[in-house]
Symmetry: C2
Subunit: 506 residues, 2 copies
């Protein structure tokens, strides 16, 4: 079943499948404030005069107040959280963002910064009536330096559009994720998005060359240098990378784009057990070396449920585990040779039970589509708890059988999949319906176990609205104290994305 | 003259040549406070009771007060700066660092954190009588995870020792610099050191997985996770990466080590002009792709002066420019083929006039030694002004002829060399002696020109003591304001490395 074709891959959006699922159920979710019993903080209420002021800056078209128009901005992608905002603002310039924030800060009006609203921890939608500041209209590409690979653009640019643009200049974006067709680079930066290429191209703290952000009081912090090396004082941009819009709103980004690989190949393999997945990863690191660009795993249920729920093809038969191994390189012949050697060796050793290898863009697309649809497939029917944790690799999969045993028949499905190269596993737990009993079985159990294994309770999704009460499993009290100090320093009125990231002090 | 041998390279220390030069002149440098007309800040003076307190924590052996013993800790590597400290402390544990800082903070005693003291901007030595806290005894390796490549160690570990250690486990350190035989990982992290491998393995903001640091008040901030992905709240470690010991003292580091390349090759080429260097870089990026690990350049004078002053061999003849191209890969045959194709193409095109290519560790060592000795060679005789700037690549070399013209016969030598892949050029200006007239010709002219070209006035050396007054050429007022706010938040008494990084407010 092993085969290989000869083309350079061009990814296309895999987000359409998410959209299908997203709108499959149109029953409105419960308000987050009620569902999670949150007390409104002491912010001002939006008045007609405030709306008039926003209209004076943005014009009427870019200030949404109609209930139906505002609704989608209140609901998160997995339809778990629902805010009660009555106003959505769509600035087109940094200056407008600055004026909006200066005003809101003065008036003690809370705001919720929003990009593509594809987050999974409720960070991108309001909880109460925070004013939504959506960056979608700040979508201009500013410059691209083809020699250095430095792209400078506005925060509202959709990741996939950027990727398509830089591909035209022989470059690629250093990050790729399932939501690429909707997520925005400003949101990616604000949440320190990880995704599928991290193993090869590193994280955003390494790739972001510079940025511009607006502080709560409207001050524009201009760190928009596009140099690879700049050691002039504190590295302020990192304050905004991954702080989920609670310290400022990212308005422009300079990012390093690697060279577009001339050759790409994808293998999809059936594996006997998790131990063999780990052995295969070690072998791939050694045999494929610098061309290894992704090493993903999924257990049997993750794949079979996706195949069934979304009616997608599985290119190989049924196996206990699956591994997806991708290479990006500059020489098709060399890459093919490396991959063949790896395959021959590991078919012979038995680590790979069966598999398919392809360089045909359409076939690669089919395999990636299967992998990237796992997240969405679990949204079909019932309620799904989604966890995203990092665990040192040797204990990577331990938590899945542990949860299966604990939940027994209370869960209709428990499965795991993720980026094994980064120690990052996504765990989905499907239940017939959301009940407090099930919640209490899962949480804080899962976080306690991850903490015992020296893992992170949020590998790439962030803390957002859903996890502040669990942050102490991954952050020491002194670090939490410093986080609070930073928040107080940069947003003393707490208007930026309240109820998120920082736990309440009781 | 093209030749190739077949071995895996193992770097050895190139720092011995620095040491030779360093001690060539034993005349004591002028006190920094006098030379640069600095006013002492309102800190307490160290009393006998303070020394007794430090002895009670560290014992007598680890509290140096003898003038001769303290002297080397007061003078920087290029013998440009000299402090007046009377006490050097050598803690062995984080707890000791914490106790020392808590005490100094309470007593308003200023401190100067110090690693290997190899910095080039006077950041690692005191200006007045700051107490030196040297981390050299915190040199333990804590853990190494061979699957993930995560190394956890104390801050005082010497970079070269770490590199040797992880090579024993089939890994390498993600950074390499000329001072590797003396510099410490804590100092590397605190100064966000760049160096020779940045092109391939990225910067420390990307490679550092976690760290532990002590704030001015003695609070230990524990962010020592060793996971590749951890999105649990603010990414605090970045506050300490590159803030040059002014926000806290780094005590432990977790860092990602890439796989040791199975094959390494080095080419050293003669090039006609700078335009061709740039063309060659573009060609190397395309032909060598993922195996390109370093692309360095030096002009004629940089090489000929080093050859002459240090009596080193130049493996090729005299050319206007030189390029050093290194590959790191997992397959010797493939890498050799890629490099051969690149060479054949560019010898034919004329971009490469002549050159040598080798995989023999000893021969690679000779070439790297020549490249890495440039910095030290210029210290022989007279006085040398050293600048380290980033400039977008197309204008990378512009500044050198500009300075030559401006200085005329007032300079005995002006030359440039550096990491072209990172847009980072080092400029050395040798003069018979340091005079205010020469200074006024160079500064702020060089910074103004770099700023006009949208460069950074300090690419990798940092701001330290020597550049705060020029930081505004690279940092906007709002960013400088945020820097001051952070300093005030984290070190309200300003005891940590005073007179450094932040410009004085007048």
């Amino acid at each position: 079943m092993l085969k290989r074709c000869k083309f350079i891959v061009h990814y296309v959006s895999k987000f359409n499948v998410f959209e299908q699922v997203r709108y499959a159920s149109q029953i409105l979710p419960q308000f987050s404030a009620e569902k999670y019993n949150v007390k409104r903080k002491n912010f001002s209420n939006v008045q007609a005069a405030d709306v008039s002021y926003f209209q004076s800056i943005l014009g009427n078209d870019r200030v949404l107040t109609d209930r139906d128009e505002v609704l989608p901005f209140n609901i998160d992608w997995i339809r778990n959280c629902r805010g009660q905002s009555q106003v959505v603002l769509k600035p087109k310039t940094t200056q407008e963002v600055s004026e909006i924030l200066a005003y809101c800060n003065k008036k003690r009006l809370a705001v919720c910064p929003q990009g593509g609203n594809t987050g999974l921890v409720g960070g991108s939608v309001p909880v109460y009536d925070e004013i939504v500041i959506n960056l979608m209209l700040m979508d201009k590409i500013i410059t691209l330096d083809e020699i250095s690979g430095a792209l400078v653009c506005e925060a509202g640019c959709v990741l996939e559009n950027l990727d398509n643009y830089v591909r035209g200049h022989n470059l690629i974006m250093p990050l790729d994720l399932g939501a690429k067709g909707s997520c925005q680079i400003g949101g990616n930066v604000s949440t320190n998005a990880g995704g599928l290429r991290l193993l090869r191209y590193g994280n955003l703290h390494g790739s972001v060359l510079g940025l511009e952000a607006v502080k709560a009081d409207g001050t524009v912090i201009d760190c928009l240098r596009s140099l690879k090396k700049d050691n002039t004082g504190y590295h302020l941009k990192h304050l905004f990378i991954g702080s989920e819009g609670t310290l400022g709103i990212v308005t422009k980004v300079a990012i390093h784009c690697p060279v577009l690989p001339k050759a790409a190949t994808l293998g999809f393999f059936g594996i006997k057990n998790f131990e063999n997945i780990l052995e295969l990863y070690k072998s791939a690191k050694s045999s494929l070396g610098e061309i290894l660009s992704a090493f993903e795993m999924a257990d049997n249920l993750a794949i079979t449920q996706t195949v069934k729920n979304l009616n997608l093809p599985n290119p190989i038969s049924d196996y206990p585990f699956y591994a997806l191994v991708e290479t990006h390189g500059s020489n098709e012949v060399h890459d093919g040779e490396k991959l063949s050697n790896f395959l021959n060796k590991e078919m012979e050793s038995g680590l790979i039970m069966d598999g398919t290898v392809t360089s045909d863009p359409a076939k690669m697309q089919t395999i990636w589509n299967l992998r990237e649809s796992i997240a969405a497939s679990s949204l079909v029917g019932g309620y799904v708890f989604k966890y995203d944790v990092s665990i040192p690799q040797k204990h990577y999969y331990d938590i899945v059988p542990m949860l299966k045993q604990r939940l027994g028949d209370k869960a209709s499905a428990v499965f795991g999949y993720g980026h094994i190269g980064d120690g990052n596993i996504h765990i989905n737990i499907s239940v017939p319906q959301y009940t407090k009993e099930v919640v209490s079985l899962i949480e804080p159990f899962i976080f306690e176990e991850v903490s015992k294994l020296k893992g992170s309770i949020s590998a790439e999704h962030g803390i957002g609205f859903r996890k502040p009460q669990f942050i102490h499993y991954s952050k020491e009290p002194s670090a939490l104290g410093l986080m609070r100090d930073l928040k107080q320093l940069m947003d003393p009125n707490g208007i930026l994305n309240p109820y998120k990231v920082l736990p309440e002090t009781n």
